[in-house]
Amino acid sequence: MTNSTDTNRWRRFSDWDERMLRHDLFAAEDPEAGFSVFKSPYDPIAGATIKSGRIVSLDGKPEKDFDILDEFIARHHLDPDLVEEAMAMDDGEIARMLVDINVPREKLERLARGMTPAKLANVVAQLSSLEVAFAYSKMRQRKTPGNQAHVTNAKDDPLQLAADAATAAELGFDELETTMRVSSNSWANALACTVGASVGRGDALFQCSIEEAEELRIGMAGLATYAETISVYGTEKAFIDGDDTPWSKAFLTAAYASRGIKARCTSGAGAELLMGFHEKKSVLYLEARCLCVQRAMGIQGTQNGGVDGAALTASMPGGVRELMAENLIAVWLGLECASGNDARTSESEIRVGAKITPLLLAGSDLITSGQGSINKYDNTFNASLFNGEEIEEYLTLQRDFEVDGGLTPLDEERALGLRIRAVEALTAVFEELDLATVTTSMVQSVVFASGSDQTDSFTAGQVTPISEAIKNRNITAVDVVRALAKRGFRDEAENLLFMLKQRVTGDYLQTSAIFRDHKIISALNDPNDYSGPATGYRMDEKRWSDVKSVRGTLTKESVLATEALGKERFPDWLFDDGTAEPGTDRHEVVIGVSPAFGAEMHRTSAGHGLPDVINAITSGISGGGGRARLVRILHTADTSFVGLSAAKLSGSGIGIGIQSKGTAVLHRSDRLPHLNLELFSNAPLVLLDHYKQLGWNAARHTFGEAPEPVVVPFRGEALSARFHARVAILFALETEMTDPDAKPVQLTLSPTGA
């Protein structure tokens, strides 16, 4: 222990210094430096003027001073027929409409087409965090929520990518996004994820994130079905540094559609700040500009909510509220929204869990724009908000709040089967297309691996020639389909062909499109129709049944089956010996046990065998100079009453009551039921030595002494979370065995008469 007197600091602060939270940075607002969240004094006054049907000023700037964003927004986003009406409305009134269940989404979307970036930002700034989340749940585009996975690894190992892609699709991710450690491995990564995504469910969209032109080529080869790297920035200088303009990005957007590939943009608060071109504007206003540009480009959707700038934004006061507010602007503009939550914005698990919760409750087209389906160190995009390590926590949050976050608990055997199938399928494709040789030991190491630390497979350097061969030989997804079918992976070949076939109709180019059961659902045929309680998305019975079945769910049957195992270990050891009578020995300690003790139940919640517990108590009693007598109390199972009943039978007036689960009380006959001498309420923490000490104390009480009560050390464990569900089921056994009229029974440790 450190010396407490050598500092004049309250040492709680030292404890707080050790928390993971202290790794996070917290930045003060400073508009001059670009650190302002919802409002900067440098943000323009919202406004727009029209002359002969043409926008001639926008947010305080005359036409001649329009930068490339203003110009693009004025010409392609703003609808001159709506501007006057929308801009004249009071910010607060529109804000109230956003949270009003009686105002339809379409009405608000229409108004947004006449609103400037500054106006949109001003309106959402009126909303509290709760209101932002609520408005989001009403305004988001597709009714059924979905989710996106990151599938990457530290070695760019294609075998692991295939296995992890199949696992991610099975978890329920609707989209799989990969990228590489080494950019020249992009084709191999894309092909591996293509094959992995064809295994099992077989209808997840997949993409490979890389430089724009290369990504389009990969998409054209069929090795990606969507793209989301069309980055947009909120100031002209940042846009130019990003090496694009709204026109070049819009051209690229049309190019994706012309090749039948789904696309979405990327933007988010803090990006301009990170790039050094923030113009002292608030991050919300700059993001509102990005989003107006995106709608103007005619892209179907966006991934926003900070993304790369999320942690920077979260470092500012109200930053997390802002991240949700910018998601809200996106859906208000009618865009599909992959709502961020794809970057670890904090080292604090509490902040991480809190960050996801509002969006999880609200639902989203894609709740994260990349959740780590792999472990943190394997995430080439950097750690996501939630990662492979934390998937079961995410699944549990879905169950806690009865919300659909897009994921489904994994069946362990099925997951392993899919991993094997995916790796074998990719091996077949590699061999069939003469791309690489895969050994059995590589396969073995990958299918069981939680992450790339555990694999003995391809290294990043070995993948490069494979990737180059795919690119140089113009291998396409159709070649992959053929290879799969030829080698007996017919289901996978069918699945991949199904995805390729989508580009003929273009159905999935429409807003918020994903596939479920090989059927498209989008904002068109599954529109969010929330208009108050019992409307909008609700899980059906089948979906809820899947969501709630997290691993290790207890049932009465499973708990009792575990308990029955104990019975075999402990053959009968407590024997009835007639009705218990009051004792006369002045140093007697009566131990009263509960109805099921040693009969139906055999271990305490700490795991001690009940014979060992009785042995500890009785040896403590005799060590303290007392004499133990065992009785079974049948009219109650409550510890206090069992203990007091025992005390009343005791010649000394001192008794101990103990339940099967190990909760014990030291009682005296003249006290009120719940005013005992000592109580072990945290049964899971009690050691046999503590029971022995309790027996010793009981004995010393019979001599009129007041021994030091036994302290069972408690370090803050969440005991009720760990034990109560099991204890409640077991305790019901005790109460079922009670009989209000039954007299206490004398017990012996050997059969009567033996």
Binding site: F66, I68, E71, R75, H76, H77, D79, E106, R110, R113, E212, A213, M220, G222, I240, D243, D244, T245, W247, S248, A250, F251, L252, T253, A254, A255, Y256, A257, S258, R259, G260, R295, A296, G298, Q300, G334, V478, V481, R482, A485, K486, R490, A493, E494, L497, L500, K501, Q502, R503, V504, T505, G506, D507, Q510, T511, I520, S522, A523, L524, N525
Partner: protein, 137 residues
């Protein structure tokens, strides 16, 4: 019946779409792929399908998305290298007003891409005013 009722085309109006080679959706089967009857060239969208999707988007109140689909329809028949060349010219500091306008004219005359041509010409005006043509490397 609204045009929106045709969506999704694959389920509601499969006869309204053909592959670029004139095949129907039902012709795209695994066996056809294995027999070599369906190739990469079949697995692509046509200008007609994109125009149809544009009409559907417009009926859903998504004017700008529809515009994008119309531009995309023009791009379908434009070769990949011309697309990449045009995209490159639209990036900052790559071209000047004259060359960008010339490229617009190529798209207009060679590929009948009127929407794209206008779009590029609009960009050229703004690029000049804002100094976007300035070389960066």
């Amino acid at each position: 019946m609204s045009i929106k009722d045709l969506y999704p085309l694959a389920e509601k109006a499969p006869d309204r779409v053909k592959t670029p080679t004139g095949k129907s959706l039902a012709d795209i089967t695994l066996d056809a792929v294995l027999a070599g009857d369906v190739t990469v060239a079949d697995l692509a969208i046509t200008p007609e399908a994109l125009h149809l999707q544009a009409e559907i988007a417009l009926a859903g109140g998504r004017h700008t998305l529809a515009e994008n689909f119309h531009r995309a329809a023009e791009l379908v028949t434009i070769p990949q290298d011309v697309i990449m060349e045009t995209y490159e010219m639209l990036r900052p500091g790559r071209a000047d007003r004259k060359t960008l306008n010339a490229q617009a004219e190529v798209l207009r005359s060679t590929y009948k891409a009127e929407l794209l041509a206008k779009f590029i010409e609009e960009a050229a005006v703004t690029y000049e005013r804002r100094g976007i043509f300035a070389k960066r490397y």
